[in-house]
Each structure stands twice: as C-alpha cells, then as structure tokens.
C-alpha cells in the first residue's frame, strides 16, 4: 500500500513474458496502488500512448515521457525493438503503475515497456492491439527515422489514430514517403510544432508577406517545413532555405524579429501534439511542398 499523497510507483519486471502475464501483473499492480484506506487508486486515461523507441533513443524518450506523464494520464506502451539480440525472439517487460497526487486524491497511470527480441519485433501491432485501452485514441510516437514501407511502420500506423514523428531526427527529409501515411492516420511532426511561433509571427505580416522576398535559415527540418508552409499557403515559390543555426527569416532582406515565446521543452512539444485529434492538412501540404526543397 502507498500513501494517497503519492507520488508512488508499483513495479514489476519479467523475462520472456506473454500478454496474458502482462495483463495479470498490471491488474495486480493497480490493486497495489491504494490510498490510506486500502482502496485502489482511480485510473483516469485519455488515450493509449504507444512509443516505438529503438535502443539508441531510449534515454531521450524516457526523459520526455517523465516530463509529461502527469499531464496525459494514459496507458503508455513503450516498444523497444532489439531484432538482433535473439533469433528465436521473446518479450521482456517492465511494468509500472504510478500514482500522481491530485488535490486530496491521486490518479494512477500505467507504463508498459516491452523489449522485443528477435522476430518479436516484426509484428508490433499484434502486441499493441490487446494492450490498447478500448475506445480511447491510440497515439504513436515514432522515435528516429521511420522505416517507411516496412512492416513495423505500416502495422503501427494502421492501429494509430495519430502518428507523431520528429523529422529533425531523420537522416533524410523523407516527407514524400511520410505523406503516404496521411490517408491512413493523422500525422504530427515535432519539427513542425517547433515552427509554431514563427508561423504565428509571419501570419501577422499578411498581406505584405505575399509579395516579399522570403529567405529562411535554420535547422534543416524546421526550415524546410517553414518554407514548405509559406510556399503552399501563399501559392508561390519561396527560396530554398539555408541550413544551420537558429530558425531565422528575412523579408525583403530585413530580419524578422524572432518570436518572443520561450523555448518549449521536448515534453511540452509532444504533450501539445497529444492534445490534437484532427488531421492537420496545413502540415500535410507543407510537408509535401517541403519535399521539393533542397538545402541552399
């Protein structure tokens, strides 16, 4: 039993486990997170949050999730593919049920981290489907560059209501391949989210901006998306962006002051995307337009 004033956590780990074992242990852990009177904590969930996290991204992903768990009470399923470790395959699980204080009460959320050894990484949807909470949206955060066209990507996109990528994590800006998923799932891009305050700033410069010479410099993905956005919305050509440094824009060769909104943390950025449900057609058009961009 843990105090209602939490924060508290009940944990379990197992090697070579089945989904049935995971469900049974989760049930047991939830019963163990109780208030001072021994009653189970309330579980409130607004989604199932699936994260596909190759081992090299695991530390970064865990830091982001740690910063946002209280904001998005959910069942989080972290899938860590380790295809080369064991040819026969198997699933190792680490489960935790965390209780967050909320006023006089606490709310419990669940984290299921599954290491998918060998061929068990090949059919991830078959693991997600039995673990997804019924009737709630499934958000998929794909860490790193997705293997577009491969089984894992296609399967998980098919079960997700929203896919969240960060194109700044990619080796190449493969927006054209990402676009093939637009009809199957809503797509968010953290790199696009980072351009949010710039888009607001530039939108305020309408209508003059429609005819001005626009020059963009900045991180590769963000600059390409901002250029794609301007090109698609204004219906005109925009100079290819210059790579490097902070995002910056010149209109008719004059610097546009950088928006004053403070930098958002990775947790803030992901958190904002998890609040969105509808398809973002403005992003889709920007990403498609960005595919024709090559760095200047």
């Amino acid at each position: 039993m843990v105090s209602a004033r939490g924060p508290s956590v009940e944990e379990w780990s197992g090697v070579d486990v089945s989904i049935a074992e995971i469900e049974a242990e989760l049930h047991r852990l939830r019963a163990g997170v109780t208030d001072e009177d021994g009653r189970p904590q309330q579980r409130t969930s607004v989604m199932t949050h699936v994260a596909w996290v190759p081992p090299e991204w695991l530390d970064a992903a865990e830091r982001v999730l740690e910063g946002m768990r209280e904001r998005h009470p959910s069942r989080t399923v972290i899938l860590v593919p380790r295809p080369g470790e064991d040819g026969e395959g198997g699933i190792d699980a680490e489960l935790s049920v965390r209780s967050f204080p909320l006023g006089e009460r606490s709310v419990a959320g669940e984290v299921i981290e599954l290491s998918l050894r060998g061929d068990r990484a090949l059919a991830p949807a078959s693991l997600v489907l039995p673990l997804a909470i019924s009737d709630l949206p499934v958000f998929l955060r794909w860490r790193g560059e997705p293997p577009f066209g491969e089984t894992q990507w296609d399967q998980l996109v098919a079960v997700a209501d929203r896919v969240v990528v960060d194109s700044s994590e990619w080796g190449e800006l493969r927006y054209a391949e990402l676009a093939e998923s637009f009809e199957r799932s809503a797509v968010s891009d953290i790199a696009w989210a980072r351009t949010g305050s710039w888009r607001v700033e530039l939108a305020d410069r309408w209508p003059a901006i429609a005819k001005q010479e626009i020059a963009i410099r900045g991180p590769r993905a963000e600059a390409a998306l901002l250029r794609g956005w301007l090109a698609s919305r204004l219906g005109r050509e925009v100079l290819p962006p210059e790579a490097g440094g902070e995002l910056a824009v010149q209109l008719d060769r004059e610097d546009v002051p950088a928006p004053s909104d403070g930098p958002l943390t990775p947790s803030d950025l992901l958190s904002a995307e998890l609040d969105r449900l509808a398809r973002d057609r403005v992003y889709e058009a920007a990403a498609l337009a960005a595919t024709s961009v090559r760095q200047g």
Partner: protein, 504 residues
C-alpha cells in the same frame, strides 16, 4: 496550392486560435480594494503570462486614496506575487507594469470626468490603445451611480467602450431596475458585462458541455427520469470581517440571488440553438421566469451560532465584530423550488447555501429515479441507493456517477459505487481562474458568461417575494451550530417529501 486573395489571410489556417483582443485600456475603479489585489491583477498577470492580452494594452487604476504610478505598480506587483497562480516572471511583469497608471479620483469632483479623460487620452497616445476602454467597477453598489456619470461624461472617441460591474447588482428588484436604467442610458446592453464569477468557472461551463455535447445525458435530463435535483453552495468560513456588507445582504442576496440561481438556470435550461450570448441567455432567462415562487413552508432560513469548524471553536454570527447582537440576518437558506415547464414539472430543485457549514463545497446533484423493478431479492439491493450524477463545481472539480454494482463473490449482492472523473486528471492545463476567462471575454466583447438585465430582474423578483414573507415575523436565531449542515428545519424540508440531503 492556395489562391491568394486580398480578403483572406491564407497563413492563419491551422494556427492555434488566438483569443487575443484588440488593443485597449482597462480602467479599474476600486484599484486599492481587495478584489483588485486578490483577483483582478493576478488574473491580468496570468493572461499576460499566457500572452493573451493585447500587445498594446494599459491598466489605469482609479481610487480615492493618494498613490503614485510607481506606488500602484509596487502594490500590484505584491498582489501578483502573493495571489497569482503562475510563477512570477520579471519579464512578464515588466511588460504589464509598463502600461500601468494610477489616478486619484473622487467621483463627486466636478472635474473627475475631465481628469480621467485627459489621462486616458495620454495613455492612448503612449500605448496605442486606440480609444478602446473597458471600465471595471470593482466597487460597492453605492458607488456605481456617480461613477457611471463620470464614465458617461468622457467624450467618446473612435474606439469601443464596455463596462464590467461586480455583483451585487442592486439589493432588490426596484434598485436593480434603477441601476439597469441608469447604466442603460449610457451603455447598450451588449456593452454591459455583469459579472457572476461562478459562470467563469470551468466546471460550470463543463456542465454545458456535459449536457449538450453528449448524447447520453439529455434524453434522461427531465422529469421522466430525474427524481429531484440538489444544489449546494456551502462555505466553511464566516463573514471574514465583512459585517457591514453581510448584515445588509445575508445569504439570500450574497449567494442565492446570483450564484445559486445561475447554477439552477444552467442545470435546467433547454439546449440553446447555438453558443452565442443571446441564445444562451435567452434559455437561462426562460428557466428563471418559470420558477414558481416558493411558499413559506418551502423556504428555510438560518443563522449560525457558536460551534466547531475543522476542530476549531468559532463564534456565532451575532458575536462577530460589527454584527448586531439581535441580528435577523440569515447566514443559511434552503428552499424547494419548482420550474414550471414541460421538462421539469413536479421535479423539485432543493437548494441550500450558507456560511459556517461543515466544509466548502459547491455541487449539483442530479438524483435519478430508482430502477422500476430490480429483479433481485430485497436483501441483495438493500445497500443500493438511486443513481446520482454529482457535479463538483468546487473544490475537486469533476463529475461522479453513483451506480449499482454486484459485490464480488457467490450470490447476488449489489451496492453503490462511484465512477469519478476528476477534471485535472484528464486535462493537462491547470484550471484558469474564473476572472481570467471573464476579463478576456469582456475584452473580446463576448457576453455569453455574463448576466443579462432581464436575468438579474427575474432573480431579484424571486428574492423579493421570499424576503417579503420573512418581514412578517422574527426568526428564532441562531438556529444552527457552526460546523453543521444548517437548522433541522432544512432537513424537514426534504423529509416531508420522503427524501434527504446528500451526506458524505
């Protein structure tokens, strides 16, 4: 690719909706008062913190006391540091404070309007606020009239003008009508924003979402399925040094006339055709007009005597400083009300409100009728209570639905369990303070969450009818101990109908 036209900005599509008002200056009358310190300035800071204020914005504090611009800024900075819900950030404060001015003003002074007008012209020039003025009367009702005249005498310019007034709006129907007429001489109804801060609370707005965004509740939201409704507005505090106000107001004018009747109206209203100010207020006023005036047996008044609250002995109302030793002011009201319309005929709304009750709680409890014929043995359902949908307005904002569930084990035994939805557990942002929403709405000209003149008058008409009944005899006060749920007669009000107040 989009076609660019002169009329439409193609870049705004998909951007987060920014409810950012036009440039304006907010003129706070009563700038040295408690409300400004505890609510208004912290709310303005929180709006600034979230970049929701206009870029060109100014605050002019007006009061009768001597103060400099810098002194006013210092006081407001302290207020923000003490009472704002957001952490203090110097850069946010600096931006807000840069547009702050103070004016010592006596409304009786014949030059008052000229002096205020001169300062506002100066502020418009300095801050680019374009002549848009939001006047906020954070003053007692007695000060309204001279201030309305001051504001009315300020020459109108290019911009808009709006007026926010705090409750209480009048002290009876006649005075409310006078005030409406006075304000109406100088402001159109669409320019008047009568604040009932309960309407700015997220959970009150969530009640509208609950009823009108879900398909499952509205079909059972009527006399066919609901046995009765209980609305409780309970405070554990006493009068907190406000004897002069409370002796005149009592619970019926302080809470019943405004907060409680607004909660009842939102609970009982028909679905509006859209979410515009006029549509929502049209539906609320229909409920208020349909309220049946309760007879003397359907209203209970009380006054607390000495007792214990949270383990501490507290004095009775008549022992509070500034209260008459034979005061007849009520600190508790309970009533059985009926909304005489097709939806609610014969469905009682039991309401209670008071001070020095066991705890602070505002709830709306929708008690449904019992299942008509549970096919279980009597013993199986003896612990089963009717379904109740409980809306927690404050604290612990959320919803709770009481349902019957089978107890684990052999045989059939059913007991009541609660399914809870805690507002803060499902949504990541902290709940904004009511004043943040209401100030922002008034800057945007959206009056949906403000009370219209006809609503105010209907509310006072009901209060006048109840109070008239009280004038005939003296109440045997005090009649409940501090820390209890009011006088026994409040329980009798429901027991007579075979019901009882919710207990916890």
């Amino acid at each position: 690719m989009s076609v660019v036209t002169e009329e439409r900005n193609p870049l705004v599509e998909g951007l987060p909706l920014r409810r950012r008002p036009e440039p304006c200056v907010i003129v706070v009358f009563g700038a040295s008062g408690d409300l400004t310190e505890r609510k208004l300035m912290p709310a303005l800071y929180s709006l600034a913190f979230r970049r929701l204020l206009p870029e060109r914005f100014a605050v002019v504090g007006v009061a009768r006391s001597d103060e400099s611009d810098d002194g006013f800024r210092d006081e407001m900075r302290n207020a923000v540091q003490h009472f704002a819900r957001d952490p203090f950030r110097q850069e946010v404060w600096d931006e807000l404070a840069a547009g702050m001015r103070y004016l010592k003003l006596d409304a009786a002074d014949t030059a008052a309007a000229d002096r205020l007008a001169a300062l506002l012209a100066e502020v418009d020039e300095e801050r680019g606020t374009g002549g848009n003025r939001l006047y906020y009367f954070a003053v007692p009702p007695g000060a309204f009239e001279p201030l309305v005249r001051v504001v009315a005498a300020i020459p109108e310019g290019e911009g808009w003008k709006r007026l926010i007034v705090e409750k209480p709006f009048g002290r009876d129907l006649a005075s409310a009508r006078e005030l409406n007429a006075l304000v109406g001489e100088h402001f159109a109804e669409s320019e008047i924003f009568r604040i009932d801060h309960y309407l700015g609370k997220e959970t009150v707005q969530n009640l509208l979402a609950l009823r009108f965004a879900n398909g499952i509740f509205e079909p059972v939201w009527n006399r066919q399925f609901i046995d009765h409704i209980q609305i409780t507005v309970a405070e554990s505090i006493g009068i907190e040094g406000r004897a002069a106000f409370y002796e005149q107001a009592g619970a019926i004018r302080d809470i019943f006339q405004n907060h409680l009747l607004q909660l009842l109206a939102i609970t009982g209203m028909e679905p509006p055709s859209d979410f515009t100010a006029e549509s929502v207020r049209n539906e609320k006023v229909k409920v208020l007009r349909s309220l049946h005036t309760p007879g003397p047996k359907s209203v209970v008044r009380g006054q607390y005597g000495r007792g214990f609250v949270e383990g501490v002995e507290v004095p009775g109302y008549r022992e509070e400083e500034g209260v008459a030793p034979d005061s007849q002011t009520e600190t508790f009201v309970a009533a059985k009300l009926y909304v005489d319309n097709w939806r609610w005929a014969d469905t009682p709304f039991y309401v209670r409100m008071g001070k020095r009750l066991p705890r602070r709680e505002t709830t709306i409890a929708i008690q449904f009728k019992r299942a008509p014929h549970p096919p279980f043995e009597e013993a199986a359902v003896e612990g089963l209570r009717p379904n109740v949908l409980l809306i927690h307005v404050q604290p612990d904002e959320g919803l709770s639905l009481a349902i019957g569930a089978k107890m684990p084990g052999q045989g059939m035994s059913i007991r009541t369990v609660h399914m809870d939805f805690l507002y803060g557990s499902a949504f990541r942002d902290g709940l904004p303070e009511a004043y943040e929403r209401l100030i922002l709405d008034s800057m945007l000209g959206d009056a949906t969450l403000f009370t219209r003149s006809d609503e105010i008058e209907e509310q006072w008409a009901l209060v006048d009818a109840i109070v008239a009944g009280w004038q005939r005899d003296r109440a045997a006060f005090p009649n409940y101990a501090a820390g209890t749920w009011g006088p026994p007669s409040a329980d009798d009000l429901l027991h007579r109908d075979g019901r009882s107040w919710r207990r916890h």
